[in-house]
Symmetry: C2
């Protein structure tokens, strides 16, 4: 690839250049190997003889490609692994598909692939299949990635949201809104602000530990687009629950709070990329908080509310002054292209 | 969705509009259902207790979105199912991820989803998980789709390319280059030509039948980007085979041949989207051709060459005048954005 510093249309045609890009750049950076078995049209892989298949897919179109605390590659792998982890699955295989814009520096692609490999190692997920397409200058914005994650939910490891009951606790694993504000500062739309790093992180090891200390965690969700409020509003609606959040308990970094005040954002609706929300019996909260806080990405884990009823399907928030209001899913666009 | 005729940025934010687009447009057209089980972060699915997992992924960026014989949705489903089928797998699950450009008519998305549902029914593959992202006007070209296919290779159903031997036959299931020329005519780059339909089709039922009549089909491949020559050159290289094609035997429609002569293309390198190449023992050729020709998409199936040696890894073609030349993978770009 010495002579080819930028992506050109022939990298996408399935011929010799595409072959060189795959074997010279993508595979070495993504899997650490120069040559592999002949690549067939589909990868053939072992799957445990018991357990359910867990499948999730996401396309990533974040702008900019590189931001404080991560890049699109780290985000794609962490985001997909997190979707598996919050479904109770052990991550097994990842597919990676790139759409590249003509003119993209090959070095950016290499850096992003390396970042994906590093993040995949955190959970042990293995890149199993891939694809590369190239579109002309102006036909996409730099680089898009699709990742599909495949995992196994071992027998007995299914989460049981239908067992949620009044008095269960709602826990979040850390501060809210970091990713949304990080992307904004990276776009220099908040020119005066200091850099705020994204929380982008793989949550599988931490959530695995939490489930080891409490077999009764009822549901896990990662509050990405739409933020904590949208994730919880959906849970309330899907399972006919009333959840009451305590506004005072919601963890928000002072600099994120400052940026939100300045821009008129609500951290409850801002995207997170390294946070989970858990509903579990109140008796297990101390042990689970201990387990979460053992991990750097869980050091700010805390209780934020309770399940106060069934049937109604409402997410409520109580202010420090004692008044209560209802929260809905995010309505209208807040920040485009944050993931 | 009455009031929303076009995609806007809020359709991609994970909130209320995204929810309406998913439940009001995408799911009804894609799965025929209005409401479903609560959608978690990953789908949990049964998987056979024996057999290997087959996984393939592809992003589709074809331009234009609609072309004679198909559209990007049909192409994505057929292409992904074909990758599973040529790997010896039974298709089980499909993930579908859209990247939509702000301003895209919602009706186009609906038509494409319906077309995906129709094509999925041909093989019985089930849409298991999905994702929708929206990018600003000019940040992508209309609509891109990623599909990831998951299948099972039943015990004993693995293809065995390592058993290929001298004297084995090379069969193609139909005429070459139709898809490449169809896309060109759809772009009106060949204004004077009559419309040539793409061969875009799901090959699973036909290939299943062929494997039922011959248990010794050694390898299957779908010659998409890069065409038949690139697919066979890769097989020759991967398994150290010499394959000799007979130029006279290669099936090409007269109108495709005409377009190729006019434009300087070689049908051996043009993309197909509904063709497979098979290598099998010569004794099984008559029965396999009968099985293939029973299907409309296989009516032009024919023998095109032989395996003439091992070790060298060369694809050769013999002209009607008796001379032989070597064919290589496609070098350089031929037609951008054909899939």
């Amino acid at each position: 690839m010495e002579a080819e510093q930028r992506i050109n249309m022939s990298h996408g045609d399935g011929g010799e250049s595409a072959h060189r890009l795959l074997n010279g750049v993508i595979l070495p950076a993504l899997t650490g190997t120069e040559s592999r078995e002949p690549l067939g049209d589909a990868a053939l892989l072992p799957f445990p003889s018991a357990g359910k298949l867990a499948v999730t897919t996401d396309s990533f179109v974040i702008k900019p490609l590189f931001f404080p605390g991560g890049d699109i590659g780290k985000l794609a792998v962490a985001g997909t692994v997190n979707d598996l982890a919050v479904s109770g699955a052990v991550p097994l295989y990842l597919t990676v598909s790139f759409i590249l814009e003509e003119g993209l520096p090959v070095e950016h692609l290499r850096t992003i692939c390396r970042s994906m490999a590093k993040e995949a190692a955190v959970s042990g997920i293995r890149v199993a299949a891939g694809d590369t397409k190239v579109v002309g200058k102006g036909d996409c914005d730099g680089l898009f990635i699709n990742t599909t994650g495949i995992g196994v939910v071992e027998p007995g490891a299914e989460l049981r949201p239908q067992l949620i009951e009044e008095g269960d606790a709602v826990v979040v694993t850390g501060t809210l809104g970091d990713h949304g504000i990080a992307v904004l500062t990276a776009r220099e739309e908040l020119g005066l602000m200091s850099e705020i790093p994204s929380d982008c992180a793989t949550l599988f090891p931490m959530l695995k530990k939490a489930r080891e200390v409490s077999a009764d965690i009822r549901i896990l969700r990662d509050p990405t687009r739409g933020g904590l409020a949208t994730a919880l509003a959906e849970i309330c609606e899907d399972y006919r629950l009333t959840v009451e959040l305590e506004e005072e308990l919601l963890p928000v970094k002072p600099e994120v709070e400052g940026a939100c005040e300045l821009m008129g954002f609500d951290p409850l609706y801002l995207a997170n990329e390294g946070k989970a929300v858990l509903i579990l019996p109140a008796r297990d909260v101390p042990a689970v908080l201990d387990a979460l806080r053992y991990f750097p990405e869980g050091r700010n884990a805390c209780l934020v509310g309770m399940v106060t009823g069934r049937e109604k399907g409402q997410l409520l928030i109580r202010t420090p002054f004692g008044s209560t209001r209802r929260l809905y899913r995010l309505a209208g666009s807040m920040l485009p292209r944050i993931c």
